[in-house]
C-alpha cells in the first residue's frame, strides 16, 4: 500500500481516537443523543458550588468528581454497557441484592436470605408478638373490628428451586414458618398466600409471579384480594360488593411492577421473559352491599391491590399505611407521616385492619403499629382480659431503657447475689400489679 494512504489511515485513526475521547464532553454540552434515565433508586449527587475553602480543602474536588461521574455525556449508556457485559459474562446483576436465578428468573437477596432463615428473629420473639396480636384481635373484636394477618406470597419461597446454587444456604426455620405456626397456635385471623400460591403454582392458568419482578403478579394479587374479601365477609357476616375477574389481557410488554427489579438492573438489551396476564376487574355497584372501612399496614406487596382502587369500591375509605410510615392516599399529593395522623380516630373509624407482610419483611411485622394499638387500648379503652404477661414484658423493656433504674438494680444484684433479670422481672411485676392495675 502506498505510504500516503497508510499515513492517511494513521491520521484518521488518531482523529478517531480523539473523537471517542471528546464525545462525552460534546454529548454533555450539546445533547445530540437523548439521555435515557436509569432505573432504580439512588441518592442523587447535586452539582457542587466552588468556594476558596472548599477548593483548598479538596472538598469541592471530591464533590465535583462525584457529580461528573453521575452526569458526564453518555454516562447512562456506559452503565448499561457495563451491566450488559456483567450479565452476559458473569450472570451478575448490578443492583443491590438482585441475583439472576435459573431460567432467567430474577431474585432478591432480601427474600432468598429470609427464605433460608438468615434473618430469623427466634421462636421466643415471634411467640411474644403473636400473643400481643391475639390480645389485640380480642380487643378489636369486642369493638366489632377485624384484625387480619395476610402472608403475601414471597418469590423466594415460590421459586426456591430457581435460586442459584451459590446463593443457597442451609435451610433453617424462617420468619414466615415461625409466624405461620404462631398464627395457628393463637388462633389469629390469617390468610397464607405463600402456601396458596405454592399449591396453585402448576394449576394456575396464568403466572402468579413475574420473571423480572419481585412482587406477586397483578393477576396473582387479584386472586389474593378475592380471597381476602371472602374471608372478611365470612368473619363479619356481611355481603360485600362483588369483585370478579371478567377477563385478562396478555400484552407483549410488562406492566409495572412486573419488571420492577429488572428496571434497576439497567441492561442494554431486553432479556426474554414470559408474558404476564393482567386481569380486567369488574365490581358490581350495589347499595345493598356492605363496604367496611379498611386500614392496611404493610410492605410494598399491598400496592398491587391498593392501586386497583378496591379500597374505595369494595371497601370504603381504604387507607394504606406503608410500613406504618407514609399514609396513603394522602401522601400522593401531600406527603404525610403516620405519626401526624390521629391514630385513635383512625382506629375508631375503621372496621378492618389488615397486616400485609412478606417473607422478607416479617421480622418488622406491624412496624410499630401493634405497640401503637396496644397503647391505644390501654389509654383509651378498657382492656379486655388484660394480659398481665404482656404488660410485664412491656414494663421490663421500660426498666431496661431507664439508666438510673438499671444502675440501682445492678447494685442490688451485686449486693444480694441475685440475677439481675430476676430483679427486673420482680420490679416490673410489682409495678403492673400495684400501679398499673390499681389505677384502672
Amino acid at each position: 500500500m502506498k505510504a500516503g494512504i497508510v499515513n492517511k489511515i494513521k491520521a484518521g485513526s488518531i482523529i478517531f481516537i480523539l473523537a471517542v475521547l471528546i464525545l462525552p464532553i460534546l454529548q454533555e454540552n450539546l445533547e445530540f443523543s437523548k439521555k435515557r434515565p436509569l432505573g432504580g433508586w439512588i441518592t442523587i449527587v447535586t452539582k457542587p458550588t466552588v468556594s476558596f475553602d472548599s477548593l483548598f480543602s479538596g472538598g469541592f474536588q471530591r464533590d465535583k468528581e462525584a457529580w461528573i461521574n453521575q452526569e458526564f455525556g453518555f454516562r447512562n449508556d456506559l452503565v448499561r454497557i457495563n451491566n450488559q457485559l456483567d450479565y452476559w459474562l458473569f450472570k451478575q446483576a448490578n443492583a443491590k441484592g438482585i441475583i439472576y436465578g435459573e431460567k432467567g428468573v430474577l431474585h432478591d437477596r432480601l427474600y432468598t436470605d429470609a427464605y433460608f432463615g438468615m434473618n430469623y428473629i427466634g421462636d421466643h420473639k415471634i411467640d411474644s408478638i403473636a400473643q400481643q396480636m391475639k390480645f389485640l384481635q380480642d380487643c378489636l373484636e369486642r369493638d366489632n373490628k377485624t384484625l387480619l394477618m395476610v402472608f403475601a406470597a414471597g418469590k423466594a419461597t415460590y421459586y426456591s428451586e430457581l435460586i442459584p446454587e451459590h446463593f443457597k444456604a442451609e435451610k433453617k426455620k424462617n420468619n414466615y414458618e415461625g409466624f405461620s405456626e404462631a398464627m395457628k397456635k393463637y388462633n389469629i385471623n390469617h390468610i397464607d398466600f405463600n402456601k396458596w400460591f405454592l399449591e396453585n403454582k402448576t394449576k394456575s392458568q396464568y403466572p402468579l409471579f413475574p420473571q423480572l419482578g419481585i412482587h406477586w403478579s397483578i393477576y396473582g394479587s387479584a386472586l389474593a384480594f378475592d380471597s381476602i374479601v371472602h374471608f372478611v365477609e365470612k368473619k363479619r357476616n356481611i355481603d360485600m360488593p362483588d369483585f370478579f375477574i371478567k377477563g385478562v389481557e396478555t400484552p407483549d410488554s410488562l406492566r409495572t411492577p412486573d419488571d420492577d427489579i429488572y428496571k434497576a438492573v439497567n441492561l442494554l438489551f431486553q432479556v426474554p421473559y414470559y408474558k404476564m396476564a393482567y386481569p380486567i376487574i369488574d365490581i358490581k355497584k350495589d347499595n345493598s352491599k356492605v363496604s367496611p372501612t379498611l386500614i392496611t399496614i404493610g410492605d410494598s406487596f399491598w400496592w398491587n391491590i391498593y392501586n386497583t382502587g378496591v379500597g374505595e369500591t369494595v371497601f370504603k375509605n381504604g387507607k394504606f399505611w406503608y410500613y406504618n410510615q407514609a399514609v396513603y392516599p394522602e401522601s400522593f399529593t401531600n406527603p404525610i407521616n403516620r405519626d401526624k395522623v390521629d391514630f385513635a380516630k383512625s382506629i375508631e373509624e375503621t372496621d378492618v385492619i389488615i397486616l400485609c407482610y412478606t417473607e422478607s419483611t416479617l421480622q418488622t411485622i406491624g412496624n410499630g403499629v401493634l405497640d401503637d394499638l396496644y397503647k391505644y387500648y390501654k389509654n383509651n379503652k378498657q382492656l379486655v382480659n388484660p394480659n398481665r404477661d404482656i404488660d410485664i414484658k412491656n414494663f421490663i423493656e421500660y426498666i431496661k431503657s431507664d439508666k438510673k433504674w438499671m444502675e440501682v438494680l445492678s447494685k442490688k444484684a451485686q449486693e444480694t447475689k441475685r440475677p439481675i433479670e430476676d430483679l427486673i422481672y420482680a420490679d416490673a411485676a410489682w409495678q403492673v400489679d400495684n400501679v398499673l392495675y390499681k389505677n384502672k
Binding site: I17, L18, I25, N69, L78, N82, D108, D260, Y323, N367
Partner: protein, 476 residues
C-alpha cells in the same frame, strides 16, 4: 486526580491531548507543565505549593553545585540538596511512624508521650523525591549537566503521567527528551501509546479492582470467620490486585508518555514468571530496583565488597530500605526484610537449588514466596499478618462463606493467564506485538485503534458503574 477516574478520562485527558497535539512545538513543554500542575493541584491543592517550593530550591542548589569549582563546595551543595529532599520525605512520610513508636516506648516506660499532630502524606512524594535525588546525584556524578531552563526542571519533576505512581525516571534517562523529543513524537507512537494506556486502564479497572473487592472482603474478616480457603483466596486476590494495579498504572504512564513523545523506562516485566526472588526483583518495579542499585547498593560497595557478610548485609539493608520506602509501618519493613532474607539465601545456596528443580517448580515456589510476602504488605498490622499466615495452613472442612462469585472466579483465571502467559513463547510473542515501538502497518493501526477504543469504553463503563448500585425502591 487518578487516571482511572471519570474526570481524568472524560475531561482532563481529551482536552490535554487535543491542545497538546494541536500546539506548536514551542508551546508543548509549557502546556505539559501547566497540565501537570493542574493535575497535581486538583488532588493536593495545598501540597502543590510545597512541591513547587522545594523543586525551585533544588533547581538552584544543583545549579550552584554544577558551577562550583571545588570538590568541597560540590559536596556541600550535594548534602544540602539531599537533606532538603530526604528531609521532606522523612517529615511527611516517616515522622508519624517514628513519633508513634517513640511514644509507645515512652508509654511502656511509664513516661509521658510526646504531643504530635499527625502529618498528612502528600500524594506521590516517594516518587518525585527519588527523582529529585537522581537529578542532584547525576549532576554531581557528572553523568549529565543540569537543565538550564527552570521550567523544564519543573516539568521533569511534575510530569503528570509519572508523577503519582512512577515509573521512577532517573534524570539522565529523560534529560534529552525534555529538550527535544521530536524523534519519538510520531503518529505510530500516539496510536500504540493509546493502546498501552488502555491496556493499563483495563488491567487496573477490569482485573485489579475485582481482585481488590475480594481481597478487602477477606482481610476485613474477623479471625473467627477466616479459614484456610478464605485466606488463600484473599492472599491470591491481593497478589494479583497489587500486580495488575501497579503494572496497570505504569502501563498508563508509559502509554501517555509515548503519546506525547516520551520514552519512559519499563517498570514491570512479568514478575510472577520469575524462578527466584533475585529474578523477581529484576522484573518487579524495575525503576525502583534500578534506583536502589545505583543510589544505595553501589555506593555501599555493591558486589565489590570484600566479605560475603558485608555483601549480604548490603543486600538486606537495601531491601529493608525498599520495604520502608513503600510505607511507614512495621509490616512494610518486615516485607522488605523478608525479601532481603530470601535474596541472601539465594546467594548462599537457595539459588542453586532453584536452578536444579526445574522451571515450573521454581516458578511456583517463587510465586508462593512472593504471595506470602504480600500478606505483610496488605495486613493492617504485624499481628494480623501473622494470624492470617497461620490461617493459611489451618485446613478445616468448613466451606468459606464468601466464595462463589462468578465474576471474581473468571477474572482470577484471566489474571493467572495474563500473569503467566509470557512463560510460553506464544505469550511472549503476543506481548511483543502489543508493547513494541515498531512502525505500524495498516492492519496493526486499525486493530490497535479499535481494540484501544473498546478497552477505553469498557473500562470507563466499569468506572462509572462502580458508583452506581441502585436500590429497587427507597427503603425505610
Amino acid at each position: 486526580m487518578v487516571f482511572s477516574s471519570s474526570i481524568f478520562l472524560v475531561y482532563f485527558l481529551p482536552i490535554f491531548l487535543l491542545v497538546y497535539f494541536i500546539a506548536d512545538a514551542r508551546f508543548k513543554n509549557p502546556i505539559l507543565l501547566i497540565a501537570s500542575v493542574l493535575f497535581y493541584a486538583w488532588g493536593a491543592p495545598k501540597f502543590i505549593f510545597a512541591i513547587l517550593a522545594t523543586t525551585t530550591l533544588d533547581f538552584y542548589l544543583v545549579k550552584i553545585l554544577y558551577n562550583s569549582q571545588t570538590e568541597k563546595k560540590r559536596k556541600l551543595f550535594l548534602i544540602l540538596s539531599l537533606t532538603l529532599n530526604v528531609g521532606m520525605l522523612f517529615y511527611f512520610k516517616y515522622c508519624n511512624f517514628f513519633i508513634e513508636n517513640f511514644n509507645a516506648a515512652l508509654s511502656a516506660a511509664g513516661a509521658h508521650e510526646i504531643t504530635w499532630t499527625k502529618v498528612i502524606l502528600p500524594i506521590g512524594i516517594s516518587f518525585y523525591t527519588f527523582e529529585s535525588l537522581t537529578y542532584v546525584v547525576d549532576v554531581y556524578r557528572k553523568l549529565h549537566k543540569p537543565l538550564n531552563n527552570f521550567w523544564q526542571y519543573q516539568m521533569y519533576i511534575l510530569l503528570f503521567p509519572k508523577l503519582i505512581a512512577g515509573p521512577i525516571i532517573r534524570y539522565h534517562e529523560i534529560s534529552d527528551q525534555i529538550e527535544d523529543r521530536t524523534i519519538n513524537d510520531t503518529i505510530d507512537n500516539k496510536i500504540s501509546g493509546f493502546l498501552r494506556f488502555t491496556i493499563g486502564l483495563g488491567k487496573k479497572v477490569l482485573i485489579a479492582n475485582v481482585m481488590a473487592a475480594k481481597a478487602d472482603e477477606v482481610f476485613a474478616l474477623q479471625d473467627a470467620d477466616l479459614n484456610a480457603a478464605s485466606a488463600w483466596i484473599g492472599m491470591l486476590a491481593y497478589t494479583f490486585q497489587i500486580y495488575f494495579d501497579f503494572s496497570g498504572y505504569s502501563d498508563m504512564a508509559i502509554g501517555i508518555g509515548k503519546m506525547i513523545g516520551f520514552k519512559f523506562p519499563e517498570n514491570f516485566d512479568n514478575p510472577y514468571t520469575s524462578q527466584s526472588i533475585t529474578e523477581f526483583w529484576r522484573r518487579w518495579h524495575m525503576t525502583l530496583g534500578n534506583w536502589m542499585r545505583n543510589y544505595l547498593y553501589i555506593p555501599l560497595g555493591g558486589n565489590k565488597v570484600k566479605s560475603k557478610f558485608r555483601l549480604y548485609f548490603n543486600l538486606w539493608l537495601v531491601f529493608l530500605a525498599s520495604g520502608f520506602w513503600h510505607g511507614a509501618a512495621w509490616t512494610f519493613i518486615i516485607w522488605g526484610i523478608y525479601h532481603g532474607l530470601f535474596l541472601v539465601l539465594e546467594r548462599a545456596f537457595l539459588g542453586n537449588v532453584l536452578k536444579k528443580i526445574g522451571k515450573i517448580p521454581a516458578t511456583l515456589f517463587t510465586f508462593l514466596l512472593v504471595a506470602i510476602g504480600w500478606v505483610f504488605f496488605r495486613a493492617d498490622d504485624v499481628s494480623k499478618a501473622i494470624t492470617f499466615l497461620k490461617k493459611l495452613f489451618q485446613f478445616e472442612s468448613k466451606t468459606p462463606y464468601l466464595f462463589w462469585d462468578h465474576k471474581f472466579i473468571i477474572m482470577m483465571f484471566v489474571a493467572i493467564l495474563l500473569a503467566f502467559f509470557t512463560s510460553f513463547k506464544l505469550g511472549e510473542k503476543t506481548q511483543r506485538v502489543f508493547y513494541s515501538s515498531d512502525e505500524l502497518g495498516v492492519a496493526k493501526t486499525i486493530s490497535f485503534t479499535v481494540l484501544s477504543c473498546l478497552l477505553f469504553i469498557v473500562s470507563l463503563a466499569a468506572i462509572t458503574s462502580s458508583n452506581f448500585n441502585p436500590f429497587i425502591y427507597f427503603r425505610f
